[in-house]
Each structure stands twice: as structure tokens, then as C-alpha cells.
């Protein structure tokens, strides 16, 4: 399973580097230059964004103990956009790192808001929490839309909401490498986040510093989402679909699943981007749109699936 995943991954990367309007074998094209400034950055951006969002998804799922939740259903990207709007409005000339930091802090605040809300949602039916998250994200999204409308920043908001990779060039995606660093951090905290997934009482009775771990996990999620929103735009469903499939096949041990989740997340987003490049060639469909269509289908399947597993006692 692991070998086949790596093989698929390598084939996807190879194909992604080969697909585009310009023909790499043509003598009129400087293939090396094209690869370096466009094709490779685009491929790397898709891989990093996918890996990051998939990892963010599994962290959120363990934190709130609900497999049907992902960062797109906790108001995180919408809160990041509100933060971005704010900094764009008040300090338009701020360096991108500052903008991203503000977006990440706003995303964290938004996610903690969702968490406070989640405490009051009955746990009997796991479908309820993602629905509450959908409404919460919708409200934050509407606030962002209103803010963008009255400040004439609608165009910015458009680039943040629709995740796509056509604009990715060398020099405009490198911030995404932060995701790799966060992955390493997550690796170090993997056991503690798996313990979070056992619930607050269990985690605390195992001697875990619950709040500190919670903030660490959600901090990683918020930073990842903020980086992705700033560089390529929000990509819904990645954090939902990928961890769920991996968990079904390999269980819930985060340390053991970290690599497969990151690889499959990267591969899934790259595949969605390639589909978007090919369907109406030479025109493009945003990867986020492709993923939303595929992801909605998988989401419906997941909603149906838990009934068979037996939630409480078998």
C-alpha cells in the first residue's frame, strides 16, 4: 500500500510537470526555464497545500473528536480572510509575512470560537457539529464579504476564496514551504494530538497538558490554513476526505499516519489541479472547484457510512 502510494505520487508529479499549454519537447521552448519558473512551482504548491490541509484536517478531527469536521467547516479560512482584509485595509504595504501572521492569528481566533461553540453542541449525532460549523463559517464568510464589498476589496476576496494554482510562479508560492516545517512540528506532537482524540477527560488523566496541546494543534491548523489562503486560496474538503480515507485503512495513530496523510493530500490536490488543467484544455478550471465537486460526493458517502460502523456500543 505504501509502495503503490509512492508510485502514484511520483507518476502524478511527473505528469504535472509535463502538462501545460507549452510543449516541453518543442524547440521554441526553454524547457528548463519553464519547469523552473512555472511547472515545478505549481506542482510543489499543489503538493504542499494538499499535504498541509490534509494534516490540518486530521488535527481538527482529533481535537473535536468528530470525523466529519475539517478546517473548512470550522470557520478557519473565513476568519483568516477577515484578518487579511483587516491588514490589507489598515496596512496595505505590510510585508507578506506580517499579513500571513495576522491571517493566522485571526484564523486561530475563529477556530477557537468554533471550539467554544462546539462545547454546546450535543454529541449524540456526529452530523450536527459539521452543520453548526457550516453555519458558523457562513456567518464569518458573509462578514468577510460585507467587509470586502464596502471597502472595494472584492477582487482580493475572490483570490482567497477560490483555491487555484494557475497564478503560481517562482517567487510567489515559497511561503507554502512553511507547511513542511509545520509537518515536522506535528510529527513531534503526534502522540499528544492522538491523545487529544481520546477526549478531554482521558487526555487530562493521562497527564497531558490539555489546553497547551489544544492551542498547539489548532495553532498548526490556523497557520497552515492562513498560508494556503494567502498563497493559493481556500481549498474545501481536502482536510475532510483525505484523513477519513487514510483513517479507514490505517486507523487513528497520528504518528503512523502522518506520512500517508501528507502524501495522499498532496497527490489528491495535484490530481484535482491536473484535472482542472485538462478538462477544458487549454483553459483551466480552479483546483478548488474540481475538489469541491469530488469532495462533496465523498462527504455524502461519509455521512452515510458511520451508520454501519456502530458509533456507541456494538
Amino acid at each position: 500500500m505504501r509502495l503503490s502510494l509512492v508510485l502514484i505520487f511520483v507518476l502524478l508529479v511527473g505528469a504535472s510537470l509535463g502538462i501545460g499549454v507549452a510543449d516541453l519537447s518543442s524547440v521554441d521552448v526553454d524547457a528548463g526555464l519553464l519547469l523552473a519558473i512555472s511547472r515545478w512551482p505549481r506542482t510543489a504548491a499543489a503538493l504542499l497545500a494538499g499535504a498541509g490541509l490534509a494534516l490540518a484536517g486530521v488535527v481538527v478531527q482529533l481535537t473535536v473528536q468528530n470525523r466529519l469536521v475539517e478546517p473548512g467547516l470550522t470557520g478557519t479560512p473565513e476568519a483568516a480572510m477577515i484578518g487579511l482584509l483587516g491588514i490589507t485595509l489598515f496596512a496595505p504595504g505590510a510585508p507578506i509575512l506580517i499579513k500571513m501572521a495576522v491571517a493566522a492569528l485571526a484564523a486561530l481566533a475563529g477556530t477557537l470560537g468554533f471550539l467554544a461553540l462546539a462545547r454546546h453542541v450535543p454529541r449524540r449525532d456526529p452530523v450536527l457539529l459539521p452543520l453548526v460549523g457550516l453555519v458558523y463559517g457562513g456567518i464569518l464568510g458573509a462578514a468577510a464579504l460585507w467587509g470586502a464589498w464596502i471597502t472595494d476589496l472584492m477582487q482580493y476576496l475572490g483570490t482567497w476564496t477560490a483555491g487555484e494554482f494557475s497564478g503560481v510562479l517562482r517567487g510567489r508560492y515559497e511561503l507554502l514551504w512553511l507547511v513542511a516545517g509545520l509537518g515536522v512540528l506535528l510529527w513531534r506532537a503526534a502522540d499528544r494530538i492522538t491523545i487529544l482524540g481520546l477526549g478531554e477527560a482521558q487526555a487530562r488523566s493521562l497527564g497531558l497538558d490539555y489546553r497547551q496541546t489544544l492551542v498547539l494543534g489548532l495553532g498548526i491548523v490556523s497557520l497552515t490554513v492562513a498560508v494556503v489562503v494567502v498563497t493559493v486560496g481556500a481549498l474545501p474538503f481536502v482536510g475532510l476526505v483525505v484523513p477519513n480515507i487514510v483513517s479507514r485503512l490505517r486507523g487513528d495513530n497520528l504518528r503512523a499516519n502522518l506520512g500517508p496523510i501528507a502524501l495522499s493530500g498532496g497527490a489528491a490536490v495535484l490530481a484535482a489541479d491536473m484535472v482542472g488543467r485538462l478538462v477544458r484544455f487549454p483553459y483551466e478550471i480552479p483546483a478548488g472547484t474540481v475538489f469541491a465537486v469530488a469532495g462533496a460526493g465523498v462527504f455524502l458517502w461519509l455521512l452515510h457510512a458511520p451508520r454501519r460502523e456502530g458509533r456507541a456500543h456494538g
Binding site: N66, G207, L208, R248, G251, H313, G314
Partner: protein
């Protein structure tokens, strides 16, 4: 020895325990019984250090439980709450292994692996070790949780209604597992368990604590507390204990 001194606890700004004083023995199986809303779970959560009292103290072998660092407390007592919000897909071995986390904090050694193997064997989970917990029956899941608490190797284990929603067969399995843990010849430990089923308390407990409206009604060895008059007053309905074919059963009087 657990000493509870003039303990008062509030939850959601409502008092649930009033000025409770009680000493629990360090060994054996202690059952907490009482009607709904008696404060049994609140007492257990307070003993576990998971909720802080408004007044009073809980001391474990002379040391204040609420003053201990979480990590140190996890080496002294294990807590098993009511059913989790989501059934884990960790394997049985992984789940039981996390019981060792307070000991190794991420770097398990041979002693940790041995403790996990011992707990799996003691609770008859050897053949299920590589199965995901989500694929097990209710009784097997509870046994996995109890094996996890056992692997934590603490002198005290607290369990909040481990029998809720279990079929009689599984409930019996779980109670026998708890007895095995309390009287494990290698490392006997104190087991305090909230029980709704009075028959189970009458059959398996060494000590019984009866509570009502956040106050202590009776505490002592099973024979002293599990009496017709005490139970009838505790539950406001006529109850009598009778021995049927060697087992204690509770009947309406």
C-alpha cells in the same frame, strides 16, 4: 488511602457536593452508589483532579490531589470516563499502549511494552490486539479501556459507570475484569467505580459508598451498607437484598 475533607463542589454554578468528608480504603473494589443526581460522577471527577473543589480537599496518601502536577498525578491515579464522543480506530494494542504515556512521554521502552503485554493478557485481549477498537463489541471496548487504565500502573483507578449500555454478559465480563485488577496478585490496587446496578455492587464490591443529593448516606464494608433499610432510604422505594443460589440480588420489597 484517600481522605476527602469537607469537600464542596459546584458544576455550572450549581452545588453538587455539600461538605463531604470520607475516607476510602487504598485497596479493593469500592462501589459508589446512589440515585441519579446524587453527585457520584462529580465526586469521581473531583477525586481524579479533573474538577477543582470550591472548598475542602482530597488527599491521596497525604498529598493534595489538586496541588499535584498533571503529569505526577497521572502516575498516581487513572481515570476512565463515560463513553467517548467518538470511537477510536486505534488498535487495541495502541490504545492500551497510551496508558503507558505518563511513564514514557513518547519514548516507550521494554518495561512499557511488557506492561502492555501483561495488561492485554490479563484482560483476555491478546487475540484482539491488532484489531481497531471501533470493530470491537461494547464489552471488548470497555475491557480495552480498563486494560489501558491497568497499564497506567497507578495505585488508584477511578471508573465512571463502566457498565452503562452494556448487555448483562459484557457487564459481568467488565466487573470480573475490575475484580481481577483490584486483586491482581502482582500489583493490587484500589478501584473506585460508580455503579448503577445494585446487584453488581452487592456481588463484587468490597466497600460501598452510598450518596444522595450531594451528601454521604453511608460508607463501609459491603455488608454494612448493602442492607434493606439503607438501600430503601437511599432510593426512596422499598428494596430488599436476598441471596439466590449464592448470588446477592436486589428485589422490590
Amino acid at each position: 488511602m484517600i481522605e476527602i475533607e469537607t469537600l464542596s463542589v459546584e458544576r455550572d454554578h450549581a452545588p453538587v457536593l455539600h461538605d463531604l468528608s470520607l475516607a476510602l480504603p487504598a485497596g479493593g473494589l469500592t462501589a459508589l452508589i446512589g440515585p441519579n443526581g446524587a453527585g457520584k460522577s462529580s465526586l469521581l471527577l473531583t477525586l481524579a483532579g479533573l474538577i477543582a473543589p470550591r472548598a475542602g480537599r482530597v488527599r491521596l496518601d497525604g498529598e493534595d490531589i489538586h496541588a499535584m502536577r498533571p503529569q505526577a498525578r497521572a502516575l498516581r491515579l487513572a481515570f476512565l470516563g463515560q463513553e467517548q464522543a467518538q470511537v477510536s480506530r486505534l488498535t487495541v494494542r495502541e490504545m492500551v499502549g497510551f496508558g503507558r504515556w505518563p511513564h514514557h512521554r513518547g519514548r516507550p521502552g521494554p518495561a512499557d511494552r511488557a506492561a502492555v503485554a501483561g495488561a492485554l493478557a490479563l484482560f483476555g485481549l491478546g487475540e484482539l490486539a491488532e484489531r481497531p477498537v471501533s470493530s470491537l463489541s461494547g464489552g471488548q471496548r470497555q475491557r480495552t479501556q480498563i486494560a489501558m487504565a491497568h497499564a497506567q500502573a497507578t495505585p488508584l483507578v477511578l471508573l465512571d459507570e463502566p457498565l452503562s449500555a452494556l448487555d448483562p454478559r459484557y457487564a459481568r465480563e467488565v466487573m470480573e475484569a475490575l475484580v481481577a485488577m483490584a486483586h491482581d496478585p502482582a500489583a493490587p490496587r484500589g478501584v473506585v467505580v460508580v455503579l448503577h446496578d445494585l446487584g453488581m455492587a452487592a456481588r463484587y464490591a468490597d466497600h460501598v459508598v452510598a450518596m444522595k443529593h450531594g451528601r454521604l448516606v453511608a460508607a463501609g464494608p459491603r455488608r454494612e451498607v448493602m442492607r434493606d433499610a439503607v438501600l430503601s432510604a437511599l432510593f426512596d422505594t422499598g428494596l430488599k437484598l436476598r441471596e439466590v443460589e449464592g448470588a446477592q440480588v436486589v428485589l422490590p420489597a
